[in-house]
Symmetry: D3
Subunit: 207 residues, 6 copies
């Protein structure tokens, strides 16, 4: 995915950087000139890249994106993340988990419940009637720790990417909460979008 | 912190691993013997390490820890985390942020609000009347991305570690939400406890 | 509804019981044989009965049912329940209620509000945009106590049975709360589905 | 507990009934006379019984009780309730539950979370920082169904009776939700206070 | 808008007043006569005016309106309101706001979040999946204070008037909260509907 | 209260205005001079007035005030507000209200519930365990409309001003919701603090 970005990145970065703080103190007088040169190159090479944040209007003010005119389509998002811990903490969790699986079920339920509260937690997120939420947790010696995967579906006007990421985050926090007496150096890491289907921006498959 | 664990870790891990899935398929017949040998070594070397999860009772059932008899003390927790993105996405955020700072303020507010809802999100967490919550966001070229720090205080019978981690997580999700149209490969990473003061288990300073 | 179940019940029960705790301690050696015999009879007589819980997958893990492919139809559910109390407590409530009807209105409002929060309370419940909620409370000398009825409607992909039952439960808890200083032996009882219309599993009329 | 109430009940009931609807249509002209006679008897025999609802003021208007002047004491409440189902439904639940215990853990977590949201569900309930919540579920052939017990503790100015009852109710609704595809005739029943300790009105032990 | 109401108002008021408390104590015997005369006039002049509250049934009991049979149309509502303060308090806010705009962004976010929680706050309000929420705040020397405008859209069976008004109210409360240490005499005022589009009752433009 | 502010207002306003947008376009070169002159006068006349917003730190960033070191004292706040409507709308409400008082009870309950959710609605508000909330509504021909009064108490480290104002606001929105089919021109107005007791800044009595 990196390849085609190599030139474009440098350019788009440069154009924007010119208006940034770092530049202001250094080479002020060159700014207009540089901006024009780079903007030209930028426009040449880069037409599909968004030139602004959708959640920020032309005055830099935060706003909720209007999705009223988008079509209602079936949408799916899968996100993943990890809670990294020491091997002996994982062993402790495994010992507890093996008995009846409780700590992982608690985290699973917390993740599902959180997905349904996404619009309540993230200010500019749209409320959506989810049709499916699934959260799975696996103990992994490779991390070492817990691998969390969330799948969310809806039939609606906007995607469920944030719902899947929120489910993973809160499931991870719940794992942390249940194990925290045993270790104070755990890390919640690598929370990312794995797959996204439906919607006008096309499908995304990262893994 | 690693030093004194080097031997202990291996041992405690081994004792527990014997009862784990991986072992069951391999060397079943050696299990009782090995367990006894390692348990002996384990007990010798390791007395302070928790031998169970506080949120799981003796039958492996999840439970909320009873904090009623703990003293009310002033407690502080600081947590940190990051949203990693491409340099050009960071540039886009910086351009938007420079105008009026909005995207970062939205994330800051979302983080503060989430800290107050921690017990609502994490099933076995105690509800606490927080006396202070602060969330700061910094754009960082080193990550590249956004560095989020949350500080939470209370006067109560249990700590505010989870509140600080929840504030960081939700602030990170909010940053992700506002920038997600520009990049589908961002990662929320490195969410960890930085400092913890007050409470019977003593102060913790990880960084 | 009882008739056709008479034989089937015994059989399906037996098949399942064989794998249950009670059986394990008694007649272990007969288990495989019995299981085969009963399973045969079970399969013969019972094809329509659910052989698993819809909220539990094949590995025994809890999950939210995927309703994305279900048709959007108009759905109605009516549930009922009671708060049983001593005749003199009912008299006290009646005296208070007669003045302006307040205690019952408070419970009615709490029930309506709870119906709208069902998916927030019950982990595997789908969030639904309800189109109608009504809760009525009647003082009854026959119980003696309060009879609560809730009717809920939606146009959606899944039913509103849980919403109606939740409205009744929370209205009952609210009645209990307002009267509890007068009696410590009240009971919330007989919360059940009365009627259910719309949806692929057909209409249900229990009363 | 019934004995000493026998006379008192009739009287207090009668005094109140005189002002009720039923009487208004029948013997209007006798009302003042009867009221005086019965009120006299009532006052003689009954001094300890509450003569009004604490959540209703002198004008019949609902209100939250002021607990500001009450002492902060340790308080405990235990409540219990049942989900009654057909034996074959219980068998199905038992089969699912035996694998990993999930359906019951989901209900347990829902009950704990609901206890923390009691003041959000029941309008005149005080918000309380709970120090302990435990919910247990047992499969019972005697009901047949599921027996749910909730224990809640706080150190505060008011009791946690409603929190324990709310935990039981929502755990029961969650069991119902997970099993409802298998049976439409389940009943949530017998939700009651079992024990209550701490607070100025003294300890209560019902079972 | 006043004109055509001049006669009608007096009449409709009178008819209703006859059944009110004030009248009961004065001219009881004239009531039936007056009612008939005024009702006749009322019916002549006034056919479109609602003769009852939609949220109250024929027995005076509160209820949620059934919107299940209404068509799903695009709906918009714009509401406005003000926080009035002393000129020097406004100056203080302006000084703070100029730096980075924070206090106003906090209020903006609180307003957007509140719009999404309207059905949770207002008992008989229908839950709606909003497609757009925008809240803007302007400092105004004319008030003097802050002018708040909220625009809300949905595609649904009922309007978003309450969502827009709730967004304005909570944004106003948030402004008040952030400035309250400087002045104790601020007023939240003039919260009203400005515009409403979509729905069977036709468009409304008040300003 | 206006008197002693007359000179001070002009001055403090002026000092701040100099740094504001309006001035930037006009008299740029005079700015430093003017600022010094006015700042001098300002400092002379005005020492008790807060020179910053407590919810904004020295960098203009929003923050929650740290109340951990404040003493726990008993605190009371009383707020008031109005829903203004046409006389005929009030008559309609009065007619409905007379039957059983429902619309006003619904608004009362919504106000009480909202007070308990204040910290969930207003981002920088501290969560507080309220000990008492009361909301009363009166029909008033003088407004004409509904007069709402809320009284809130706590024993805590910070006041309950926002809780009382939130209760009034949400009760007002609920009245509006129940009457809105009859009139589209109602106004919620005059929401203000009436009285505040307890806390280090001393008692406030505005009316």
């Amino acid at each position: 995915m990196g390849g085609p970005y190599s030139v474009r990145s440098v350019l788009s970065l440069s154009v924007l950087e010119i208006f940034s703080k770092k530049w202001q103190s250094r080479c002020r007088h060159l700014k207009p000139l540089l901006a024009m040169v780079l903007l030209f190159l930028h426009v040449e090479y880069n037409s599909s890249m968004p030139t602004h944040l959708t959640h920020v209007d032309e005055h830099g003010r935060a706003r909720m994106v209007d999705v009223g005119s988008k079509a209602e389509t079936e949408r799916l998002a899968i996100a993943r993340g990890e809670v990294k811990m020491k091997p002996e903490t994982l062993a402790l969790l495994r010992a507890g988990a093996l008995k009846k699986g409780d700590p992982l079920v608690v985290a699973q339920i917390a993740g599902i419940a959180a997905a349904k509260r996404t619009a309540d937690l993230i200010p500019l997120c749209h409320p959506l009637p989810l049709t499916y939420v699934d959260v799975t947790l696996e103990l992994s010696d490779k991390i070492p720790g817990v691998l969390i995967t969330a799948s969310v579906k809806t039939v609606g006007q906007t995607g469920v990417e944030m719902e899947a990421l929120t489910a993973v985050s809160v499931a991870a926090l719940t794992v942390y909460d249940m194990v925290k007496a045993a270790e104070k150096t755990m890390r919640i890491q690598n929370i990312r979008l794995v797959e996204k289907r439906g919607g006008q921006s096309g499908d995304v498959v990262n893994e």
